[in-house]
């Protein structure tokens, strides 16, 4: 689905990531870990075409990112659900409208008013907050709303950057369960997190591959997390 071949990324004269090779397989569950500042977010941005590698090649659904126009990247991104740690929303639109926005953007305006949307809100436990505006939501509610927005287009891949970074343990578990459920539905999930307890919890429930960024390089983490 997403293939990285000897990928490097430099910024401001320094190399942040180098010699990264990975083939993200369909239906797999990945964790990406590493210390703060290791380049986890940069790696995810490379995976969904927000950044272009300075060396190597990235193919998203078979297309080389370097040869794609901005609109082609945008269309490809509709097949990738992204959840960011800071959960950016459009603050003057209700939570319901924010979650439905990917449908509206892709031209499915009728679906944006569909009953499935309410089901999705119920699934992430936000039915009662549908009319609320993003600034009125708690950290956990924003994370769940971001997850709902990421999956509303039924993407093939879900990339989550520190999805439990701003929430308590109970909410972390709840978000993890939602992601595990999506994986059971056949979605590929890649979570960037430095929360080792979350990774251990997930590994007890799913066959997850744990990747680690260390010294700018991607490594497969062993059993000793």
């Amino acid at each position: 689905m997403i293939d990285l071949e000897n990928v490097a990324y430099s910024y401001g004269g320094g190399e942040l990531l180098s010699e990264m090779s990975l083939s993200i397989a369909s239906g797999a569950f990945y964790f990406l870990t590493g210390p703060s500042g290791a380049g986890k977010t940069t790696f995810l941005k490379l995976c969904y075409g927000a950044l272009v590698p300075t060396a190597g090649q990235i193919r998203i659904f078979g297309n080389d990112v370097r040869g794609m126009s901005r609109d082609e990247v945008a269309l490809t991104r509709r097949r990738i659900g992204v959840v960011h740690q800071d959960c950016q929303f459009i603050d003057h639109m209700s939570m319901l409208d924010n979650i439905a926005l990917p449908l509206a953007v892709s031209g499915n305006n009728t679906l944006a008013e569909d009953a499935n949307l309410k089901e999705l809100l119920a699934w992430v436990g936000l039915s009662h907050r549908a009319k609320a505006f993003p600034p009125e939501l708690s950290g956990g509610e924003r994370q769940r709303a971001a997850l709902a927005r990421a999956i509303i287009m039924s993407p093939d891949v879900i990339l989550a950057d520190e999805p439990t970074g701003n929430v308590d343990w109970e909410m972390s578990e709840r978000l993890l369960q939602l992601l595990l459920e999506l994986n059971r539905m056949g979605k590929t999930v890649l979570i960037a997190s430095h929360d080792l307890s979350l990774i251990r919890s997930a590994k007890s429930q799913v066959q997850a591959r744990v990747l680690r960024i260390s010294n700018r390089r991607l490594q497969l983490a062993g059993a000793n997390l």
């Binding site: 945008a74 509709r78 992204v82 950016q88 459009i90 639109m93 990917p102 953007v105």
Partner: protein, 300 residues
């Protein structure tokens, strides 16, 4: 093809997309006020242009097809020179009528300056011959030469000497009005472009979110362009209504014939006011589209 698709996308109403850009903010107020002010100015530039055009047309047609011969000669030769001039005129091709003004007519012409009781018969006032031309006109230069040779006191005045510079001045005023409208429209475009750039910068988070969820540049551009075109349209409607009301209460040209009193639009000229808001909206459309495409390119 991509440009056409982008254009059609902008024209297509989409209530979800139209809500993406916040409806309030300083750029919204700035755009609306700028459009109102610019439309207001365009109304007056337009009325000045039309008034000057009407004046040019009036001056161009005033005394058109007529000429005058002025005969200044000693009293004992005056009648003879008038008679000789009329004889020459009767032989000149292109002249329909020629007749000497009588004493009452000449008195009426001088009355505004000397009063009605001027003893014209006692004064050495030149004699005037009024000429009416045929459609094709006559050879003024040829007539002048012949008069100079045969009637030494006769001077032909075809009115072009004073009419031409006035008509030219009025035509230049018309052009000035049109040029002012162009400058105002370009300034409006520049102002809207600046406001659009500020709005795009202020809404960086909206753009980031839209990009994250797979919005194409066409979608994002359309959201901003529609918002700014609508604001400009509403603002220019307000400006046109304000300017139109003031024009409506200006004195009508029919009461006194002057450019200062003839600024009020006449007849079908009023229709032009309805063209100003959509025209300014079109300028805003182009300006915002240009600014949005540039900003999105820079953000990549």
């Amino acid at each position: 093809m991509n440009s056409l698709h982008g254009l059609l996308e902008v024209l297509r109403a989409d209530h979800h997309r139209d809500r993406v850009v916040p409806a309030t903010g300083f750029t919204a107020t700035l755009t609306t006020l700028t459009a109102a002010a610019m439309a207001f100015l365009i109304v007056f530039a337009l009325s000045l242009s039309f008034a000057a055009d009407r004046l040019a047309a009036r001056w161009a047609t005033a005394l058109e097809g007529t000429a005058t011969i002025r005969i200044s000669a000693p009293q004992d030769q005056l009648a003879n020179q008038v008679e000789r001039s009329l004889a020459i005129l009767s032989e000149t091709a292109g002249i329909e009528t020629a007749r000497a003004l009588n004493i009452e007519e000449q008195q009426a012409l001088l009355a505004p300056w000397f009063g009605p009781d001027i003893p014209l018969a006692d004064l050495p006032v030149p004699k005037l011959i009024a000429i009416t031309e045929m459609d094709g006109g006559f050879d003024a230069q040829g007539l002048r030469l012949r008069l100079a040779a045969e009637v030494p006191g006769a001077v032909l005045d075809d009115h072009m000497r004073w009419r031409k510079p006035l008509v030219r001045a009025a035509q230049r005023l018309t052009l000035l009005g049109a040029f002012s409208i162009l400058i105002i429209a370009l300034t409006s475009g520049a102002m809207v472009m600046l406001a659009a750039r500020a709005a795009l910068a202020a809404n960086a988070q909206v753009i980031a979110v839209l990009r994250l969820i797979g919005a194409t540049d066409t979608y994002i551009v359309a959201a901003f362009v529609r918002r700014f075109a609508m604001r400009t349209f509403v603002g220019s409607c307000l400006g046109v209504v304000g300017g139109g009301l003031i024009l409506l209460f200006l004195p009508s040209e029919t009461t006194t014939a002057s450019i200062l009193t003839g600024l009020r639009l006449q007849g079908v000229d009023w229709i032009w006011l309805f063209i100003i808001p959509p025209a300014l909206a079109a300028v805003a459309f182009i300006a915002t589209r240009f600014a949005a495409n540039r900003v999105l390119g820079e953000l990549s």
